[in-house]
Subunit: 570 residues, 2 copies
């Protein structure tokens, strides 16, 4: 079989203006970036306001493994399959971060015959949104330090006179706003800034990956430009020497940050290998952020399509939980069905059984033991009230015996349906069976329930997520977290949602504990105020907000060839 | 009169596809980014290879002052004026950096009725090239530190086995490659990275503004994608523990860096207020880098236009010198005429006479004293052999008496001609007289001479620039610079060009010395190898490669208004 980039390149994509027109987007609502991608102006939302809304399908997965479960492959394959069945279906996915693209994972455009094309345009700059987020984020960081610098060099009166501003008295030890870069940059995790003559004050800082920026969450959760402006104004950047919050509004930088992100708020239209529409917008990771593409993209797609397929990052304990408890709460649009992606390999790897055997070989004992993880995710998703369809993403080495056993076993659970999906090697055709079941699922009654209510206090919300969302016995709070909890209460932010930052590699906080962890307490290490995004981030265990490059980094393979084409992506 | 952004917004720009077509660019050579800007594919160079080349006019200026001399206003006005006279003229300018845009200066789109439109698209992300440069630059920085990290954690044999790579033994104290961000970020000038468990080794680093990245110079000097790939491979990123250079090629990151900059190599087409073509490409500053837009943009424009107007940053000692001695040497295209922009205010401010009088008021004594600076720049430009035209950029407060005196005085110098230009308030019409003289100038014989030859050694080249380029008595080398000179010789890089990084605010290295400094020695503090760009940067005096935000930063004024429009830019 051809590689992803070969398949992407040999398939002549259709002009994006055609894709748009066919999907119901007028040319005046489209801002083409070349012939393969285009931004969609938000003015469309007004025009299509009276359209009926389509069904929303959220794709999630079992606990991820190093083999890759193919959630995006399945989402794109499903979208292609739905269109093949005559439905107007659109995929809504996140923009890939260049960190993983050049780090280890390769691209995030799907793969095989279920891809968004051209994959290199999706995986690199796309239409510049991530760059805009980085730039806006780092302007705020520069603004904080510039303010510190100028105020530190003169008396308050003089500062007032020269600047026309009131001194803010930022506490250099209480700067909450770090910096971001869209790379895997281990060495920038913790830095000290301000050395040299007249560059101070010296203080600690650090970089997160851009996907972890609160601005990325804001981009994904904003309803329109004014809402984004309002949220950016609320960002808490630092505390002053009295411990009072200093926002982007107070610092006077919220307007400029919004201006930098003014185009980023428009989703980007691309297409699948079969010419079906795909909206790409925002890219928060699901371990360190809320892990879902934007509300704006969903809204546009829902007004134009019969079915919209979107995905939450990592397993259902991660992106799906946040989809339900964070994104849905803002958007008001609850899921009509959920797809849980699984592979035979993922179940074997989640079995907890050590084995020297090739994971591609049949091994019913490991498969059966690993099934518990899938069962847990089915139950976890089911508790939110939408019908669950399990998609078994097929690999060439999979045996019919194992696939049949798994399907039969799934059908004995609370899942609405289960199908093998072979979108990777067969494209739309390989996903038609799954598409059929998903359509039926969306026609069922759905009785959506949030896991927690916003008017509970933060501690209670955390306890609910830990117990009902992860199967923990309870939570423990570090001294830091307890102090931060008091600060949050005193700022009146107790009614925000909660976004848990934890390892995606286990349902628990211990990456090595596979299967269905029980008998554990969730350790809350830190609480971070995201007043702009509208949630409190709870760091659980040791969570990296900045990845590092591995010993065999992906960038080693990437180059241009004799024909000036890109090689080595994905 | 309306503000720049009001004029920009009230002028309905024409579809960029029309501008392109009229300029001779086919639709298959164009990659539109919306309807106001488009990238031009490099395939055009092959198609137009047989076209006759147009004339190249380089716009420079007297020593800059805080009042702004209006070099871009004049370049754009001149382009509009030339087109009004029936010439096919195109402007080639640099992409503005967001650092100054949100710092102090505002935009760089020209101003008044001589602007590139829409100015906010030029001043913000444009088509993403600066972001691409930042990203490629910082990937290399991440790659160096990741390599250091992995090699430091295990024995050489183990590293070899796990990574499949040969250990490089990078010396963490000899990392030459800093990081970049496109903001004014004083606090990041000098930082220490690598703190925390498993994030090391700890070492010093720092950020420059992206315009100062060697990649920005490479973008501006590359002839095609393969040439850019080759140059990126030659970047010297660090020294190993034996003092040997480690290049981007050795580190295995050159291919990925090129891939990140693959679209950036295509210039962006925009238009002036009167619908004339303007190519925007690359953005090196002229104080800390070579300060000229790209060779590729010039080449495309020269094949399609009768006259191409480009500009070198700051005064003629800065961008113009580098245009001649660095850019022209690579491109092979020498200037057919040079325009020196001056204002009455600039001469008064350069007079060296302290005065409490409003600089907008007539003051013949100061004007006459300040004339020496203009005379120096005319002579400086003349020595390169192209005819010199002086453009007096008119301000509303200028009196006819002073303007006439200045024009008459200029005509007694070696300048070919002199005209008052009022492109700012009158657009094309205000620049027609200047355009007429410039056309005549380009019809003169031009006898271009480099200031130095590449086969002289670095010290000799520096001496020539100091003496013939700045009027210095000689140069002095710091201990650092002497050591670096020896390193450069031992690496066989003695035949590279020289790019002087010095203050633009004086012809000398002392920003406060106005007029025509004499009797000074140029202190070379540091020499920096730019093997990819193909020059040695000589830091003269205290030169900042990262600006800082002022006490009244520009971002304070920038916001969106009720109609979701940008306010406060420029």
């Amino acid at each position: 079989m051809l590689t992803d980039i070969e398949i992407s390149r040999q398939t002549k994509h259709r002009p994006i203006t055609q894709i748009a027109e066919q999907f119901g987007i007028t040319s005046s609502e489209l801002v083409p970036f070349g012939d393969a991608k285009a931004k969609i102006k938000l003015s469309i939302l007004k025009r299509v306001d009276d359209n009926l809304e389509g069904k929303l399908v959220i794709v999630t997965a079992v606990t991820p493994t190093p083999f890759g479960e193919g959630k995006t492959v399945t989402s794109i394959g499903l979208t292609q399959g739905l269109n093949a069945l005559g439905k107007r279906a659109c995929a809504c996915i996140r923009q890939p971060s260049m960190g993983p693209v050049f780090g280890i994972k390769g691209g995030a455009a799907g793969g095989g015959y279920s891809q968004v094309v051209p994959m290199e345009e999706l995986n690199l700059h796309l239409t510049g949104d991530i760059h805009a987020v980085s730039s806006a984020h780092n302007l705020a960081a520069a603004a904080i330090d510039a303010r510190l610098f100028h105020e530190s060099r003169m008396a308050a009166d003089e500062y007032r006179e020269l600047s026309g501003q009131t001194p803010l008295n930022i506490d250099p030890e209480k700067i909450l706003w770090r910096r971001v870069v869209d790379h895997n940059e281990r060495s920038l995790r913790n830095i000290t800034v301000g050395f040299g003559d007249n560059n101070g004050p010296i203080h600690d800082s650090g970089f997160d990956i851009t996907a972890a920026s609160e601005l990325m969450a804001i981009l994904a959760l904003s309803l329109d430009l004014k809402d984004m402006r309002r949220r950016i104004g609320q960002l808490v950047l630092a505390l002053d020497t009295q411990g009072q919050p200093i926002t982007a509004e107070t610092l006077g930088v919220a307007g400029a940050m919004t201006v930098i992100m003014k185009d980023a708020i428009e989703p980007t239209l691309m297409q699948t290998l079969t010419g079906d529409p795909c909206l790409i917008h925002a890219g928060p990771f699901a371990n360190i952020a809320h892990g879902n593409s934007s509300i704006i993209a969903d809204r546009i797609a829902l007004k134009l399509a019969d079915i919209v397929v979107t995905e939450g990052g990592f397993g259902s304990d991660m992106g799906f939980e946040k989809f339900c408890n964070i994104k849905t709460r803002v958007s008001g649009k609850t899921p009509d069905a959920a797809v849980v992606v699984v592979t035979l390999k993922a179940l074997k790897a989640n079995s907890g059984i050590e084995s020297q055997n090739d994971i591609n070989q049949p091994d019913m004992a490991r498969l059966q033991a690993g099934f518990a993880n899938l069962k847990w995710h089915i139950d976890n998703v089911s508790q939110y009230g939408a019908p669950v369809v399990v998609a078994i993403n097929r690999f060439p080495t999979d045996t019919d015996e194992e696939l049949e056993w798994l399907k039969a076993r799934v059908l004995k659970t609370s899942a609405f349906g289960c199908e093998v999906c072979d979108g990777f090697s067969q494209g739309a055709k390989g996903a038609e069976a799954l598409a059929g079941v998903v359509v039926s699922a969306t026609e069922q009654e759905s009785d959506f329930k949030f896991l927690y209510q916003l008017d509970e206090n933060i501690e209670s919300k955390l306890l609910t997520i830990a117990e009902a969302g992860y199967g923990a016995k309870g939570i423990s709070l570090s001294q830091d977290a307890k102090r931060q909890l008091r600060e949050i209460k005193s700022m009146g932010l107790d009614n925000l949602a909660v976004c848990v930052a934890k390892t995606p590699l286990s349902i628990s906080h211990e990456p090595k504990v596979k299967g269905v962890p029980t008998d554990f307490e969730l350790p809350i290490i830190q609480l971070k105020i995201n007043a702009g995004a509208g949630f409190i981030t709870a760091l659980v265990g040791k969570v990296m907000t900045m990845p590092g490059l591995g010993i065999k980094p992906g960038y080693l393979n990437v180059d241009i060839n004799e024909d000036d084409e890109i090689v080595g992506l994905a």
